[in-house]
């Protein structure tokens, strides 16, 4: 709608407030904007995290995220959605991911935002490697993320 892509994968940081403002600017049909920011924590699975490296699959990552956004727009009554995911080296408190959804009403905006995060976590080719005080390790996939994605029933045909 805005001429900008719904999906960006980038090393640079993002400005959540500016992205949220851009998504609703000049559109008086928008009554609800939901947003989520994921951040690097300094402790994960009991180890102090010094830094993190995010790897992706150029081309497929964008394609997978676009597919998730398209699915969300088909399932929920939203006008706009945007996903920005950072890759490369990040430090604790750094922003990792931003998801914004906007539409007429809050129920669909919230649901679409959480849906996108749940499927991003389980479907988009992105991998975290942590540099901890105990050494370097690849983050293991979580069963709780699979369960979160499984909450969403298959879309009605």
């Amino acid at each position: 709608m805005s001429g900008q892509s719904d999906v960006r994968v980038q090393t640079e940081d993002f400005d959540a407030g500016a992205e949220m403002a851009a998504m609703r600017r000049g559109d008086p049909k928008i009554g609800a904007v939901a947003a989520f920011i994921g951040l690097v924590r300094d402790v994960n699975d009991g180890s102090a995290v010094r830094s993190m490296t995010l790897e992706h699959y150029p081309g497929m990552t964008e394609r997978a995220l676009e597919g998730i956004v398209t699915e969300a727009k088909g399932r929920f009554r939203i006008e706009h959605a945007r996903v920005i995911h950072r890759v490369g080296e990040l430090q604790p408190t750094d922003q990792i991911v931003l998801v914004i959804t906007a539409g007429g009403h809050r129920g669909d905006a919230f649901a679409a935002c959480e849906f996108i995060m749940d499927f991003l976590k389980t479907q988009a080719p992105l991998w975290k490697k942590e540099q901890t005080v105990d050494g370097t390790r690849w983050v293991e996939a979580r069963g709780s993320d699979d369960q979160a994605a499984a909450r969403w029933e298959p879309r009605q045909a």
């Binding site: 994921g38 995010l54 790897e55 992706h56 699959y57 081309g59 497929m60 394609r63 997978a64 995911h85 990792i96 991911v97 995060m117 991003l120 976590k121 389980t122 479907q123 988009a124 080719p125 992105l126 991998w127 975290k128 490697k129 690849w138 983050v139 293991e140 996939a141 979580r142």
Partner: protein, 85 residues
């Protein structure tokens, strides 16, 4: 037929390669048979791709399953379960 193979994340480190072009012998034309073909190399290939390891496979950048067919020129990527977000 020749396909393009890609390896990501911990799998890339284990096999010591981010990708290769590979000429597949006759009979290797699905995700499952390709995985077996790579395991047959032995060594790090056997340990990294062993059947009991949870791995994801994408063919031409779409998630695939064991029975997904592979054709000349396809891009086939192997990687561990994803951990972004």
């Amino acid at each position: 037929m020749v396909v393009k193979l890609l390896y990501f994340a911990s799998l890339r480190e284990q096999v010591g390669s981010s990708g290769e072009s590979l000429d597949l012998p006759l009979g290797v034309a699905s995700v499952a048979t390709l995985r077996e073909h790579l395991i047959a190399r032995g060594g790090v290939w056997q340990s990294a791709l062993a059947g009991n390891r949870a791995l994801r496979v994408a063919v031409n950048q779409d998630l695939a399953v064991a029975t997904t067919a592979i054709k000349e020129g396809d891009e086939v990527a192997f990687f561990p379960p994803v951990t972004g977000g």
